[in-house]
Structure formats: C-alpha cells, structure tokens
Symmetry: C2
Subunit: 216 residues, 2 copies
Amino acid sequence: MRVGELSKRSGVPVPTIKYYLREGLLPAGVLTSPNQAHYDDEHLRRLRLVRALVDVGGLSIAAVRDVLAAVDTRDDSLHNKLGAVQEAISQPGSVELDPLAVEDVQAFFARQGERECADVTESNVTHMLAAALSAARSVGHGHFRDLLDPYLEGLKIIAQADVEYIARQGSRDDVIEAMVIGTLIGDTVLKAVRRLAHAQVSRDVIGRVGNEPAAN
Amino acid sequence: MRVGELSKRSGVPVPTIKYYLREGLLPAGVLTSPNQAHYDDEHLRRLRLVRALVDVGGLSIAAVRDVLAAVDTRDDSLHNKLGAVQEAISQPGSVELDPLAVEDVQAFFARQGERECADVTESNVTHMLAAALSAARSVGHGHFRDLLDPYLEGLKIIAQADVEYIARQGSRDDVIEAMVIGTLIGDTVLKAVRRLAHAQVSRDVIGRVGNEPAAN
DNA sequence: CGCATATGGATAGTGTACCTTTCCGATAGC
DNA sequence: GCTATCGGAAAGGTACACTATCCATATGCG
C-alpha cells in the first residue's frame, strides 16, 4: 500500500506519517520509483503501536523512538530487553531526590532481600520511585513509604497475571510487543481500575451521609 | 514572608511563582502596601503541592487548577470530593473508543455487580479504561481485558492500604490532601514497583540463559 | 495520450504549554 | 539616601508535536 491507504487504515493523517518517518518512528517503505514507496502490514502494525504509546502511554516522540529501538534490538535476552524497554518508558523527571526517600527505597530493597542497589539513581525505575517518595516527603507525607509493602503485595498478583498474559503469546516478537503493551497500557488500566476501587471503597466506608470524620 | 523567601524555601523560581499566582494556582498574598504582599506557610504548602502534582503527577497547569478547585470546595461530602478530584486528574485523551472495548468495560462492571454504567463516557475514569482497552485492541490485544479481574484482585489489597493511609490523617483537610497525594503519587509509586516486580519475575522465570521461548 | 490526483522529500510554519525576561514605579531595610 | 527587592503586567522564549506548502514525479482513469 502507499501512504494514503496507510493513513486511511490507521486513522493517522498523512503529514503525521511523514513526520514519523522523518523521526525514525516508522521504517521507510520500499521504493519502487524515486518518488513511490510501498508499505506493508508491518508498517501498519508499527504505526498503531506508535499511536498507542503516544495516546495511551503518554510517551514523547523521543521516548517512543527509544522503546522501538529496544524492541528492534535482536541480540539480547528477553530479560535484558525488558530492562531496556523499562528504562525507555520511565523518563527521569526533574525532581531532586530527598536523601531520606533514597533511604526508604534502599530499606525497601533490603526488606525484599533483593539486589544490592548501591546507587538508586542508576536505574530510571528506582529513580522514579525515589522521586515519588521525595515529592511525598516535600508535602509532609514521609509516611507514604509505609505503603510500599502492601503495594508490592497487591502487585505480586498483578505481575503474575502480566507474566501469564505475556507467556500466552506465540512468537518471540509477540512476547516483546506484549511486554511493551502490557506495561504501558497496563499502567493506564491499573490507574483507572484503582480509581474505581477507591470509589467503591469510598461508597462503602465514608460515602454514607453523616458518617464522616470530624471537621478540622 | 515575601516572594523571595517563598522561592528560596520551595526551590521554585520567583517568576514561576508569579506565573502560578496569575494562573490562580496560588492564592494572592496579603497586601500590606500597594506593592508588598505577605505569604504564609499555607502558601508554601500549596506551592509544594502544586509542584508535586506537576512534577510527579504529570498534571497540566489546567488540571492542577481543577484539582485545587475540587480540594478547596467546602460544601461537599468526602465521597463527592474524591469523585471531583478523580475527574480532575483523569484527562480524557483523544482516543476514539472501540465499541468492543466499551462492551468489555460494561461486562467488567456487570461481573463486579456494581453500578449500572449506562454510559461509559460519562466519567473520565471509565472513559480512560475504555480508551486503554481500545488501544490494546487496535494493536491486536483484544484479550487484554482478561487482565481486568486479576488487576482488580491485586488492587483491592492496594486500595485497602490506601484507605487505611487516608484514614490515618487527622483533620478533614489532611484527609483531602492525602487523597490527592495518595492517588497521584501513588500512581507513580505503583508504576515503579510494578516494574520492579516485573524485573523480579523476569529474573526468576525467563531470565536464565538458554531458557527462552523458541524464536519466531 | 491527457490530466487530475497522489506521492516522496524537503522546508517552513502553526498552535499549545510552560515558563522567563523585561519593564515599571514603589517599598524595605540598612 | 541608596541599593536590592517587590508586585504587577506584558512581551518574549523554548520545546514539542504536528501541519502546511512546495516541487518534480508518478499513478491511474478515460
């Protein structure tokens, strides 16, 4: 197909597709003449993936490029690829870390008996965690760290489901894409369902009229 | 204090504070002369909250304004306030909904025996859920909906911890702020811990060399 | 063949969001 | 009195994600 049909089938405007081609988010089509190129279903699939990452995952164009680069790297174990994808989709942010929050993270790691984690800032993921706890501290919620253990408990169930979902995929390529989709779209789904769970608990516990805590 | 000290104590540049004042994210200080104003610890606290919402929560200035408006509304039950805050922090996004994904959401609600949910788009939260499932479908992951139930199972533990954390707060104002912090910073913490859980499972299950699924 | 439409490629422009800079006259505080 | 800072307003700047324009060429229909 040519770019017009690619646009029609994906819902992405032609100029945007050209932009993605320029930015390296889509591989170039096969040139049949100096100004004619053919695109196939792989391009369509990739284009839809890009839109999912941008629209639902909220990734920047640069982050999408990093994710796709990690996905397309062939000479890596799945474990390494997961790590690369995770780094790519976890942009650092510009929050300065509170040393106490860093200690909280290290204590959390020690409690779980996991890796050494000498430097929290060496990974975007641990940096994100430390940054979030730092922000909580800055608004007087130093005890937010107490939620780490129950969070992990609930997330074990969720991560288990994630892994089973990924294992259900057929080819290695599908596994990798499911990893990306499952992580990023899963984040959004988790956010939404968590809010629904909050609303449910709120209705059950504090929603009854006249059953509120004393006013300040 | 005046704006200079507010800046020093919060780490936010003076022009940015002025910008937030213009945008209504911070209440004006008390004028002692036509061009002198005093700010107190409430301003500092609010400023740090704004930065936490922007830096960690990733909210836009407009969304922060909506959240603060919901927080500052006094004549509402806690349940209603939670709903207002949730709506404010869940921006719709521009994904068109797949009718099949909408059915998935409705089936999920029916399974949980919860509210009617006649219109999925009436709430930003359900819209976000339907949009995420729509995006999953667009990349060939229609079965992603199967994760909703295990997600909810894990999130029940997490939401329980959230509610207990909120209940631990003293005043009604603290409860409301803990709701905002807990929801938004909690999202980021959940994201980070989920990635750590993935990495842990990945190391245990598929990380061993030579123990990978067959190549495509 | 003729001709409107579409194409690939390059360059420039648009709109939004979030600040910064600059300016002003007035005030603080030594 | 003098310098730094202030509040307030307006203009400027930067980054990002497109979007529009242009051009020579190619397609495809009649």
